[in-house]
Symmetry: C2
Subunit: 352 residues, 2 copies
């Protein structure tokens, strides 16, 4: 046993278990046990080993450890995009949208405490998807959180077929036995309808997102259903793509086709911002002439003028729940497929 003093350098390379073992005068296995806090090791040896760890400046090599344990302490956040190219501006928009940041924030709030890191990956092509699944089966990451954008994304199915622990944020478009966390989008839209009708609007329109993405179609369905219940069998509708500009364009269309419009439900806040611009340009007062309800309660809603009445979407909580669900699934392979649906609420501000 060496004296308890001084640093023990090991040349160029980083100290390994072997080095620590030599310094401590024990075997590699024992050091491994101590470092990982496994089984009862003689308290004396325990001290000696930690001492040697200290003196050599040993840091376990995660990679080597992962290779044998098949656990990486990493969770992949996969953004599955249909076929965008590297220079497609779409991804830029996507990341700049608060949606992405809120998801990351929610995930990190849980993962950080568990010491798990998040690996971001974007897959667009079929080849990238296949490669991703291959890597995941090899244990590149312990599990994956999927943000699926395209309408008929094959990724969720590929993931479940491969047996990779996965959870989606937002339900899959096609029925796939995968865990997911979602918002009751239809209820949210319904809340918007109730509010607009409740404040006396006579002709209420809607600016929706693309009809083939689940979150969007659920909002459309929920809104229509609720409006019908209030006696409005038909609802004027224009379609955008969730960007501010598209909302502006859609609002102009709607206004041109239905000049007497006095209320509008916009499927997300960013488009609502655009709608506000178009309404102002058309000389309409909000909410005096036209009442506007958004969706998401993103930071943009408060910043808008007038501040947006909107549907609150607890995205951070949802993402955090997704992380928890995934961690549970990772630890228990027999967990049955489950989903958690969050209820939205209406946040009343100035625009309606």
């Amino acid at each position: 046993m060496t004296a308890t003093s001084g640093r023990v350098p090991v040349g160029e390379r980083l100290p390994t278990l072997e080095d620590v073992a030599r310094v401590a005068g024990v075997s590699r296995a024992t050091v491994s046990r101590v470092v990982n806090g496994i089984r009862n090791v003689d308290p004396q040896l325990h001290t000696v080993v930690w001492d040697a760890v200290e003196r050599t400046g040993y840091v376990p090599n995660r990679l080597a450890r992962s290779l044998v344990t098949r656990r990486t302490g990493t969770i992949a956040l996969v953004v599955s995009d249909s076929e965008s190219h590297d220079d497609d501006p779409f991804m830029g928009r996507f990341f700049a949208d608060p949606y992405f940041g809120r998801v990351v924030g929610g995930l990190m709030s849980v993962l950080r405490a568990a010491g798990i890191q998040l690996a971001l990956q974007i897959v667009g092509t079929e080849q990238q998807r296949a490669r991703l699944v291959g890597d995941l089966r090899h244990g590149q990451a312990d599990g994956v959180v999927v943000l699926s954008l395209p309408a008929h994304d094959p990724l969720p199915r590929m993931l479940t077929d491969a047996g990779v622990p996965a959870v989606m944020i937002g339900r899959p478009a096609d029925p796939v036995p995968i865990n997911y966390v979602d918002l009751a989008n239809d209820t949210g839209a319904s809340l918007a309808a109730d509010h607009l009708v409740g404040r006396g609007c006579q002709l209420v329109g809607m600016i929706s997102g693309p009809a083939d993405v689940p979150a969007s179609s659920d909002r459309i369905a929920g809104f229509r259903r609720s409006m019908a219940r209030h006696g409005h069998a038909w609802v004027p509708q224009a379609i955008g793509n969730f960007t501010q500009v598209s909302g502006e364009v859609a609002m102009r269309e709607l206004l041109a086709a239905h000049p007497t419009l006095d209320g509008v439900f916009v499927a997300n806040d960013l488009m609502a911002l655009g709608a506000l611009l178009a309404l102002r340009a058309a000389g309409r007062e909000v909410p005096g002439d036209v009442a506007v309800v958004g969706f998401d309660d993103s930071s943009a809603a408060v910043a808008a003028n007038p501040a947006l009445t909107t549907i609150r979407h607890p995205l951070e909580d949802m993402a955090a729940e997704a992380a928890r669900l995934l961690m549970t699934r990772i630890d228990d392979a027999t967990m049955r497929v489950s989903s958690v649906i969050y209820e939205p609420t209406l946040v009343r501000r100035e625009s309606a």
Copy 2:
């Protein structure tokens, strides 16, 4: 050589190089060579091997490969925070801020094309920092992009001392020989001063961020210098923390202390949004009574009412450049420390 047909399953586990080698009737080394496209391998064997790869459904195990090559194809994005706790709401705000998303978007635009993934890590405590550096020295990631928040962050120094390829977005607060990409913050602030004075403002104030973070102090210095050049030796100032609410509060303070204020430079758009709110509440017209210039040209600037005149901050480009710089450094350890400074421009909209 086996017949070219059918799948060759290998039981439960995933196929390894060994399996492919057996099926192809060659050695492990040869398969490795073919898969990695190394050296001249007999074209015939080449075909046979790819065939075997196809039939076994072989996918290389990244982990195992990384263990020996010491290359991971991963770059870490480290958000270095001073001492926030897991339940600190600050991180939530940080991620929801478009700043984060824009950086990620810019990085990904470059990394994605290179097939590199981004691993997100937040370090707050001293222990986490030490662990991160240890992991990085072991080649957990090939390099690291640092987003350093606290004023006197020890991380940049630790990174350079450890010899880890690193690049910062925003210059380090303390002088450290580390690569970085930054904006000429002083020039930007100077642009704002010129514009406000140019439009005839007589009493111009400033809402700045904390004085001890570089980006903020540079903006303060640049603004003051330029104002002084225009004959305004002294500038009323209030301090915020880059959030909308803090901007609102600061604006109220400024207005209370200097009721005749007719122009204000706000150090970021989010605070400018808050300032707009406070001005409206105080019954001041923008830009009629008070002209407002923001900073960042974030999406909030366009959404604001009136739309914000602001300083454009090409953050995506800067992040992309950071990624390129880092990749160069990773491939060439002898690269000398370098920095790239971007020039901001003034974007004129309605608020000034």
